[in-house]
Amino acid sequence: MSFFEIENLSLSFGGVKAVDGVNFAMEKGEVFTIVGPNGAGKSTIFNMISSFYAPDEGHIRFKGEDITEARADAIARIGIARTFQNIELFEHSTLLQNLLIGREIHNRVPVLRQLIFDPGVRRAELEHRRKVEDVIDFLELAHYRDERIANLPYGVRKKIELGRALCVEPELLLLDEPASGLNPEETEDMGFWIDDIKNDLGISVLMIEHDMSLVNEVSDRVLALNNGCVIAEGSAQEVQNHPDVVAAYLGGAA
């Protein structure tokens, strides 16, 4: 039994087979990267893991448990958090509020007590705040703590979204193109953080990424996808030099 397994996963949109019989497995503590040209079906796999889409066929297993049918709002409780390709932050709220929302699954206080806001609620809030501040320190976001997201630049938002996922304290973190839209310096930082997330926080990472320097730097294993099908799997070097992968990227560029 692997830590996280995708088995024969398929999904069509109308006539388009977005994901076509994909299999892979990753182990605890790994950074596992999916690469492939645009439209290969990478984000669709993430959206099936998040239960936003139900697969036509196949299974998703996490620590031996079949989570294919789990509700979308149960995935975080199971231990899986994610970021989005196009950043889905709560725009009108501050950075601090965004990260506090990431603590949702750790909230145990019943609604009625929240309305009264008794001292127990305050204690719980302070506890969440301390966890959030750890993440703010970790990602060096203190400068923006009370800024509204709508006023912040893209690179910072990308970091905040990563931070919000970390506030969930997941066992598995899904990152959908964490470096897209970042400049080379920010991309390098992202690489360090992913390493720290793996090594210091002990969180396994399943990542979609185009930036090959980042993929080479952090990935333990790489899977290449094209037209919904797996075309190669192995180390970053092996996958990059695989003739089908080269062809897929050249074909995709044409």
Binding site: F52, N86, F90, E91, H92, E125, L126, L152
Partner: protein
């Protein structure tokens, strides 16, 4: 320019974030508590009306401003609160028992309609809320045994522990205290996980879900709290107007409530209060203007809703953050003078939303 040094996480939880809050809100509180001593009955009544609107608007704010579900039927919750309260009073139930029951009844109705409505989004939900309001109006007309139907229903002044509340200033204080309690309740929601979930659901349902927020449950709870507060306002309104009839709680009132929170500033408690003050002021102005205008215009039946509609549209186009948003910008300008950057509040639109799901 004020630079805040934060030394304690409690500072972000407390209502009064710094000494300026204590001073200005203390002044405001003193003002509203002392107001009846300086005003005559007419103006005390006008103020009471504003407080009741503020309470109803606060309710609508929870559902529309915090959770992003636009309701065009909130007058119906005022109707449910008002008629339930008035009916219970005729059955001999005491004021301070009947009022919470009325609020709760309205809240439970809100909860029941929210269960199917929370699956709808945007325009569909708004249309459903409108339909709901029409149904409630119909029920009020036809359930004559309880509501008096089209003949209407008189409401007696409240009796408190055998003492009849007859004076305008006495009722003003009852309304004021209940409004303050409701504001505290809503502020508590906002600083709790529930309030954060509401804002999350409003801004991005999919990322809310991916963080474990139960979207439907959050919307239903918002409706429950919202309908209860607006129902409470309805119960208080019943004594204020002293006579209930079905057309009191029509579409015009619903539009007025929506106008209030949009003009005041969506998504904040301030917005509901500012909106109520402005609408109260507007209503008074319109009724004065009516005497000045030539009768052909002044007596047009659609004058008020027409004006409200125009103002609503103007605000949505030019100042979507409402009067409170405008005030925040002005204050920032003053605090940073002469260093204000023109684009401080300009929203960044530098990224694509094209691949967003749903």
């Amino acid at each position: 320019m004020r630079v805040l040094f934060k030394t304690d996480y409690n500072q972000d939880i407390k209502f009064a974030k710094h000494s300026g809050y204590v001073f200005w809100y203390g002044l405001l509180l003193a003002g509203v508590f002392l107001a009846p001593m300086a005003l005559d009955t007419y103006w005390i009544n006008e103020l009471t009306r504003v407080l009741i609107y503020a309470l109803a608007g606060l309710g609508l704010m929870v559902v529309t401003g915090f959770t992003g579900q636009v309701s065009l039927g909130h007058a119906a919750f005022m109707a449910i609160g008002a008629y339930t309260h008035a009916f219970l009073l005729t059955q001999g139930v005491p004021f301070f028992v009947s009022l919470p029951i009325a609020a709760l009844t309205s809240g439970v109705v809100g909860l029941l309609i929210a269960i199917p409505a929370s699956r709808m989004t945007g325009l569909y939900l708004t249309i459903a809320s409108l339909a709901f309001a029409i149904v409630v109006e119909d029920v009020v007309i036809h359930w004559e045994g309880v509501t008096g139907g089209n003949r209407g229903m008189a409401v007696d002044p409240p009796m408190l522990f055998g003492y009849e509340i007859f004076e305008a200033w006495e009722y003003y204080y009852i309304v004021l205290v209940l409004l303050i309690m409701s504001i505290i309740l809503v502020l508590n929601v906002l600083r709790s996980p529930l309030g954060r979930s509401m804002l999350a659901v409003r801004d991005s349902e999919i990322s809310a879900e991916s963080l474990g927020i139960r979207v439907a449950r959050t919307k239903v709870l918002a409706f429950l709290i919202s309908a209860a507060l607006t129902g409470l306002a309805g119960g208080l309104f019943a004594h204020f107007i002293q006579f209930l009839s079905p057309e009191t709680f029509g579409i015009l009132l619903s539009i007025q409530l929506l106008l209030m929170i949009v003009v005041g500033g969506l998504g904040t408690v301030h917005g509901a209060i500012y909106g109520a003050v402005l609408i109260g002021f507007l209503e008074a102005t319109i009724s004065i203007m009516k005497d000045w205008l030539p009768p052909a215009i002044g007596n047009q039946p659609g004058l008020e809703p027409g004006l409200f509609g125009v103002i609503l549209v103007l605000f949505i186009i030019f100042e979507p953050e409402g009067v409170y948003g405008r005030w925040l910008k002005f204050r920032t300008f003053l605090e940073n003078f002469p260093f204000y950057r023109r684009n401080t509040f300009k929203r960044q639109r530098s990224y694509l939303k094209t691949e967003r799901m749903r």
